[in-house]
């Protein structure tokens, strides 16, 4: 054996665990609680939209407008929008944390998820709260039956 020794094959231990806000516990709780609600919300949604009546064939503007004429479905969709988007976004965050190894890439993805989630929640909320079932300029045939004739 000479003075020359092969470099130690033992890799040093991974860098210290990153600290920061502990999203994990609340995220974890949230996934489960929202999941429970989502089962009801989504299954109800799917049932009304795809199964009851004529299924997907029945969907059009008038169908939506008809649903939104009562606050019931507005609240329903509103809750579904928030719960599902945040649930999905948090889930995607987990995925990104798992698989995006490069810190920069990870950042980019996480920001993208965050921004798109906020935008979509705002957009969706706006649509639901300000929905006008009888917008001007639509052919009467495309409007729900309760709209006053234009």
């Amino acid at each position: 054996m000479s003075t020359e020794t092969i470099p130690t094959p033992r890799s040093s231990y991974a860098p210290p665990r990153t600290r920061g806000v502990n999203w994990e516990k609340w995220g974890w709780m949230y996934m489960r609680i929202s999941g429970l609600f989502l089962v009801i919300l989504i299954f109800g949604h799917l049932f009304v939209n795809l199964v009851a009546g004529d299924g997907v064939r029945a969907i059009d503007f008038a169908f939506v407008a008809g649903k939104y004429s009562t606050p019931f479905w507005k609240v329903w969709d509103f809750a579904m929008l928030w719960l599902a988007l945040i649930h999905g976004a948090n889930g995607m965050r987990t995925l990104v944390n798992d698989y995006a190894r490069k810190p920069l890439l990870r950042r980019v993805f996480l920001v993208a998820i965050l921004v798109s989630t906020i935008l979509l929640i705002l957009l969706g909320s706006l649509v639901i709260t300000t929905f006008d079932p009888c917008p001007a300029g639509m052919a009467a045939s495309a409007l729900p039956s309760f709209c006053p004739a234009p």
């Binding site: 054996m1 020359e4 092969i6 130690t8």
Partner: protein
């Protein structure tokens, strides 16, 4: 003189380290010592295995201590049982210490967090074990503290946990291959050890004021053994090669209940919980041999009785060559609670369902009663009376001697804790005042030469072949029953194997994780130790404890109530054992219990 070389220096590829105390081996004894030494002195533990891989973890049944938690008991009875169990070859002063300090040893472990099984009122539960009795042999007593059937596992884990807590400095997968000795005032003293780093193939010299050996047993001189592949007696071998004596090497314990054909141990705890040994016709044969203790007689007696049953044709199976351990009469709930692991071994390895079928068993090589002689302070002896300053040994590699010619079950886990602790305390005391022993020039040279020689060897012999021949022959000739004839046969074989060992070739010439190389070195130790075992056995013309000479079937207190001390002298390379082994005798310390006939 190289004298002192600063910690962290690398000279000529050899790394130098400096610690007050270096502990060789991270089993129960080594870590128990580290827990005492670590907080008091700069301590390093050098182990060829990750600490939790040590074979202490395989111990199952329990650890003896006269806590008297479940029935009346006291340390004096425990001492008596230990002395009698060891067939009066036990040093009685040491046995007293063992039994007395047992209680604190168990409580220490409990305080460190060991999860012992509990009694209904929340105290440490105790169970029966072979040879442990009340009132000097009147009836079995519940003395073994236990954690299901993984007591050793829990001891090893608990000690490791506490080492983590104390931040003990471990060097894992470093094989210590040599001890460096130097003369101080005309006396030989340890200056450190030389270790081989498995990961890189680098050599390390650990300079130390005190060295504690805790390298465990050497069961791999036998083929059928409960011992791990790594129990090759390196520590004992190193001491031997330094010309220091080895004590009572002929006494090797065969545990009655190894899984037939495999040697995997089924703890005596099974019999402690009521399991029964049966022969082919289902007879509870131990009633014939030891009417009082029956299946719970000491191991030497049970193993011998089993061998006789087989010899007399009452063995079971197609070749009538094994016996049964029967626990079918125990409640499955009890089995699951108290013996979960060993029942699983039977299921996994033999495909036998212990709830409903008896398990095929055979005696298996288990425990070395002999080893590095120490006094009760765990200081290593260089003669019958004189110690080597700064050198300590504890655990199975040491011989205090608390086990005499036959160890009682549960006394070894006790031994490693009591004497491991003593070694740690005494070494820390010693290094407070002791000066550094200067390192000789080029301390790693001897080992480097040896390694180079093995690595570059281009002989025709394979180590696996030599090892197998050794182990087969040891099983055949130096097992429970021995005769001059059988011992002579194995002596001659060892002689040729030693010669053939010089002509080996290994295939892995690399540096990283070269286990091929280390197996070759380990085989060297095995050959050395087997030779000492057989040589000592040939010279003891009596039968006592684990050493049963058919040609000398009686115990002979007149001539052999003495410890064997074997020394390496002359030319270690000489062929015949007699040319390089010198035997001497050391008196047995007897305090309260004069030798009597041993009846159970």
């Amino acid at each position: 003189m190289a004298d002192m070389i600063e910690d962290g220096t690398v000279i000529d590829g050899v790394h130098y380290h400096q610690h007050d105390i270096v502990i060789v081996g991270a089993g129960g004894a080594g870590m128990r010592a580290a827990i005492e030494a670590g907080p008091n002195a700069r301590t390093a533990v050098v182990s060829k295995l990750y600490p939790t891989r040590s074979h202490t973890g395989a111990a199952q049944g329990g650890m003896a201590a006269a806590l008297a938690n479940v029935e009346e008991d006291n340390w004096e009875w425990h001492t008596y049982d230990t002395v009698k169990g060891g067939d009066y070859l036990v040093d009685q002063d040491a046995a007293e210490i063992l039994a007395k300090e047992a209680i604190d040893a168990v409580l220490d472990l409990e305080n460190m967090g060991l999860p012992f099984n509990r009694t209904a009122d929340g105290k440490i539960d105790q169970r029966r074990f072979g040879g442990h009795t009340r009132e000097h042999g009147a009836a079995p007593v519940r003395r073994a503290c236990y954690a299901a059937d993984r007591t050793g596992h829990m001891i090893l884990q608990t000690l490791f946990q506490n080492c983590v807590k104390l931040g003990i400095n471990f060097f894992n997968e470093y094989y210590v291959l040599d001890m460096v000795m130097a003369e101080v005032d005309g006396k030989k003293q340890p200056a450190g050890v030389v270790a081989y780093e498995l990961a890189t193939g680098d050599l390390h010299v650990f300079q130390a004021k005190a060295v504690i050996f805790a390298t465990g047993g050497f069961g791999k001189i036998y083929k059928t053994t409960s011992n791990a592949h790594t129990l090759t007696g390196d520590g004992v071998g190193i001491i031997w090669r330094k010309g220091l004596p080895l004590e009572d090497m002929e006494f090797y314990q065969f545990h009655p209940t190894g899984l037939a054909g495999l040697g995997i141990l089924l703890s005596e705890a099974a019999r402690g919980e009521g399991a029964i040994l049966r022969n082919a016709s289902g007879e509870r044969f131990m009633e014939r041999y030891t009417p009082t203790l029956k299946d719970l007689a000491p191991r030497d007696i049970v193993a011998r009785s089993m061998a006789l049953e087989i010899r007399e044709g009452r063995g079971a199976g197609p070749n009538k060559d094994y016996l049964y351990l029967d626990i079918t009469h125990l409640e499955p709930a009890v089995i699951d609670e108290k013996l979960p692991d060993i029942t699983e071994f039977a299921r996994t390895y033999l495909g036998v369902e212990p709830y409903t079928e008896p398990v095929p068993v055979l005696p298996t090589a288990h425990y070395a009663m002999g080893g590095i002689p120490t006094n009760t302070n765990a200081e290593v002896l260089q003669s019958n009376t004189e110690i080597v300053p700064g050198l300590y040994a504890a655990g199975e590699c040491a011989c205090v001697s608390v086990h005499g010619s036959n160890r009682l079950g549960t006394n070894s886990l006790l031994d490693i804790n009591v004497f491991g602790k003593r070694a740690g305390i005494n070494a820390s005391e010693y290094v407070k005042t002791a000066p550094w022993v200067p390192l000789p020039e080029n301390p790693a040279k001897g080992i480097r030469d040896l390694l180079d020689q093995v690595r570059s060897g281009d002989g025709t012999e394979r180590i696996a072949v030599i090892r197998k021949e050794l182990q087969d022959s040891m099983d055949r000739n130096a097992q429970i029953f021995r005769t001059e004839e059988s011992l002579k046969e194995v002596t001659e074989l060892i002689e040729t194997l030693r010669a053939r060992y010089k002509n080996i070739q290994i295939q892995d010439k690399g540096k990283r994780y070269n286990t091929d190389l280390l197996e070759a070195i380990e085989l060297g130790f095995l050959l050395d130790l087997a030779e000492v075992v057989v040589y000592s056995a040939r010279s003891r013309h009596e039968s006592r404890g684990g050493h049963m000479r058919e040609d000398y079937p009686k115990r002979d207190d007149e001539n052999f109530l003495v410890h064997t001390m074997a020394y390496l002298t002359g030319d270690p390379e000489s062929a015949e054992a007699g040319e390089h082994i010198r035997l001497d005798w050391k008196p047995v310390v007897i305090t309260n219990y004069p030798p009597m006939e041993r009846k159970y």
